[in-house]
């Protein structure tokens, strides 16, 4: 059995920053997965992220990214892309710490996931509100597809639910399922 975590990251209250939890929830309500696959809406984690990723075979993260691409662009990042640049001096002791967590899991504890994929969705707006911008909403099926393709690659199976569970509780608009 492969241990896989699919994590949605971002703040559901700040526009497109919520795309990670949105895609995550969509997967959760419309598919069932092999035993060993865990889906978690992790919000905006700091170093507690280490505890969620320790000892995994594979980690799939869905997150908004700022990489200069037009909003709604999906970019896939692998392990080395995420750890290439170490964090520098910080003012605030609670900034998000994805890179630091990955490095700590690897360097200090040797428990970093063997396979890592970050499905990055370029964001358009971070204005307060529980709604994605249209262009990011249109990118959601692609992001979902990227996650499922990674599961295929990992040899992990999943099945579409005939009847989806309840929708996305925080969103002011509900997605089309299926």
């Amino acid at each position: 059995m492969k241990r896989v975590l699919i994590a949605g990251i971002g703040n559901i209250l700040l526009g497109d920053d919520g795309v990670g939890p949105y895609v995550l929830r969509l997967l959760e309500v419309s598919y069932s997965f092999d035993e060993g696959v865990v889906l978690e809406d992790l919000g905006t984690p700091a170093l507690d992220f280490i505890d969620h990723i320790a000892g995994l075979d594979a980690l799939i993260v869905i997150d908004s990214v700022d990489n200069g691409e037009p909003a709604g662009t999906i970019t896939l990042y692998r392990n080395d892309d995420l750890k290439r640049n170490a964090p520098a001096v910080r003012m605030d002791t609670h900034s998000p710490a994805i890179t630091e967590s990955l490095l700590a899991a690897e360097v200090f504890f040797g428990v970093s996931p063997r396979e890592i994929l970050l499905v990055g969705v370029s964001a358009g707006s971070y204005d307060a509100g529980c709604t994605l911008t249209d262009v990011v909403k249109d990118a959601v099926p692609l992001a979902r597809q990227a996650v499922l393709a990674e599961l295929d690659r990992l040899g992990v199976s999943y099945r579409g639910k005939t009847q989806a569970d309840s929708g996305i509780w925080w969103s002011e608009t509900q997605p089309q399922l299926g």
Binding site: L13, D66, H94, S95
Partner: protein, 566 residues
């Protein structure tokens, strides 16, 4: 001529906490703290069902999700005058204690210890000497030479692979770093152990809260943990015993390692007991209720003005009348429309961005004031308020800390030294040691109450037909948190959160009075303006939490903070 230093975290979403200081003759002569991002999240809550508010408010922050959930349900319970069953109070208290222990441990080791500990010194340490020193300070069983040697080997390997950047602090070899290689090694070995024990604390939050981050078991009027001692799917003896075991392990780490390390590091930097005081007005709310109505608490609250420990004013309840009536928010120097200070129930959040101007508006943070005065909040406020009231548990650990510091430093440490940068670290360790004792007490209270045959966890909320107002408070890891709600027709009419970091990071107000961050930086020494480690030490001692609202991954790995010297 004064030199200006700006420390501005660079993120893709316009940063968070920014600090500007003017330096003259190697000391800070003026300071401004600002938040560079507008949130305005409270507006999202208007029109929603008050029973759902906590699910949204716990997304305010990535680290302190639990605290915003708790303050929110309490605000609605206050508005509805709804009592909370004893079991629910104890379950909530255990969640709050476990969350706070996790938070305090992580704050010291992962987020601020490296302001004092120089990782580059570690390879030079003698693990046997470090072990001997550690064993003279604490009965902790994981201070052996072998354990310390393993930690040292990790640092050597990290250094050899060129990955020292993982520590996210970069001021190695700074002249203000003073610990011996052995103490540096010891602190780092505990840095690694801290990651294990903070996880055990979070496991308790996970068991009782069903999920972390974002607990799922709260509800207005109680909790949703079904209690059945024999059922594996409910809160039964199996889970309760697991919780007790985890809390005991965490308590031991806190009292034998964290508390001791803070005292030892403090004793080796005694000059920092005289730096970083700032605002000497302190505010804390009572927490860990012991009855259904909220009239008795295990953590005392109240306020102190001008550092006068003999003239403390206690709060009787967590929603004390004096507290309710004394809080206002001023926007003179904040990027919002508005004139005179407003009470949170009448609070407005209409942005008016004008760009940074130290004489006019310069922050997205409002200036909360208590009876018109800036107040420092956080563990230091709570410990001083408790100490001044003669609260036995606070006195026990405060005096133990002062005794330990005195013995190691060879000085006579008095409570007055706590008005300082190190005082904030010491107070956080004192509070953690108190909470470690209280964890066991509240576990026992819960089990004893269940043993009496009380399985109640929830009272049904009943809405009034007229408009009602409520305040929910929580003495969170970073200090006094209050959520203020106005309810009409079963819907939220207004909602304001006055969070600990806005008390501490507040800009100047209409009288020109600085907030605690700003005041604490005045007169601070600055050895090297290019590397303002001293500013970070003082700001980090508050455990600032400003960045919590947004998370976007930046694949370029740009610098997180920029230091600009003008």
């Amino acid at each position: 001529m004064a030199k200006r230093i700006t420390i501005d975290p660079i993120t893709r979403i316009e940063g968070h906490l920014r600090v500007d200081v003017e330096v003259e003759n190697n000391a800070v002569s003026n300071a401004w703290a600002s938040c560079t991002m507008w949130r305005g999240i409270e507006k999202i809550l208007r029109g929603r069902d008050p029973r759902d508010a906590w699910l949204f408010t716990q997304r305010f922050c990535g680290v302190c999700t639990t605290v915003h959930a708790m303050a929110s349900v309490r605000s609605v319970e206050d508005a509805l005058k709804l009592e909370v069953p004893l079991n629910a109070q104890y379950v909530r208290n255990l969640i709050l204690i476990a969350h706070a222990l996790h938070d305090h441990i992580v704050h010291f080791y992962q987020l601020s210890a490296l302001d004092w500990v120089d990782v580059l010194q570690i390879p030079k340490a003698d693990p046997a000497a470090a072990s001997k020193l550690a064993e003279s300070l604490s009965p902790w069983t994981r201070n052996s030479r072998n354990e310390l040697k393993a930690a040292q080997d990790k640092v050597k390997a990290v250094a050899a692979s060129g990955q020292l950047g993982i520590f996210a602090n970069g001021y190695w070899g700074h002249p203000a770093m003073k610990l011996s290689p052995e103490v540096n090694l010891l602190a780092f070995a505990h840095y690694l152990q801290a990651l294990e024990y903070q996880r055990k604390a979070l496991q308790v939050v996970g068991i009782l809260g069903a999920k972390t981050p974002h607990i799922q078991t709260l509800t207005v009027g109680g909790v949703t943990n079904a209690i059945d001692l024999d059922s594996p799917s409910a809160l039964g003896m199996d889970r309760l015993e697991m919780i007790r075991g985890l809390l005991a392990e965490v308590a031991q780490f806190v009292q034998q390692v964290y508390f001791v390390d803070v005292c030892a590091v403090a004793a080796m930097y005694p000059e920092w007991f005289k730096i970083g005081g700032g605002v000497h007005n302190y505010l804390a709310v009572p927490d860990l209720p012991l009855d259904t109505k909220g009239t008795a608490y295990d953590l005392p609250g109240g306020y102190i003005m001008n550092g006068n420990l003999t003239g403390t004013h206690p709060f009787k309840t967590a929603a004390d009348k004096e507290f309710r009536e004394s809080v206002t928010e001023d926007v003179t120097h904040s990027y919002y429309q508005g004139g005179k200070p407003l009470h949170p129930w009448n609070g407005e959040t209409e942005p008016e961005f004008t760009g940074w101007n130290g004489d006019q508006k310069y922050s997205w943070v409002k200036s909360p004031r208590f009876q018109g005065h800036p107040m420092q909040v956080g563990p230091l406020a709570q410990v001083l308020v408790g100490y001044a009231q003669g609260h036995p548990l606070t006195k026990k650990y405060a005096e133990l800390a002062l005794t330990k510091v005195s013995a190691i430093a060879g000085i006579h440490a008095t409570p007055d030294l706590l008005h300082s940068t190190l005082g904030r670290h010491a107070a956080r360790a004192i509070r953690a040691a108190m909470l470690a004792d209280l964890a066991d007490k509240h576990w026992q209270l819960l089990v004893n109450n269940i043993a009496k045959g009380d399985f109640s966890v929830h009272n049904q909320p009943v809405f009034a037909s007229h408009e009602v107002e409520g305040v929910g408070t929580h003495e969170a890891p970073r200090g006094t948190l209050s959520h203020w709600v106005v309810i009409k027709d079963e819907k939220i009419k207004n909602y304001q959160a006055v969070v600990p970091s806005t008390w501490n990071a507040s800009p100047r107000d209409n009288t020109g009075a600085s907030g605690p961050y700003e005041a604490s930086l005045l007169h601070s020494p600055i050895a090297d303006p290019e590397k303002p480690l001293e500013v970070l030490r003082t700001i980090h001692s508050f455990d600032p939490c400003m960045a919590c609202a947004c998370h976007t991954f930046d694949p370029s790995g740009k610098q997180i903070a920029k230091v600009k010297v003008l």
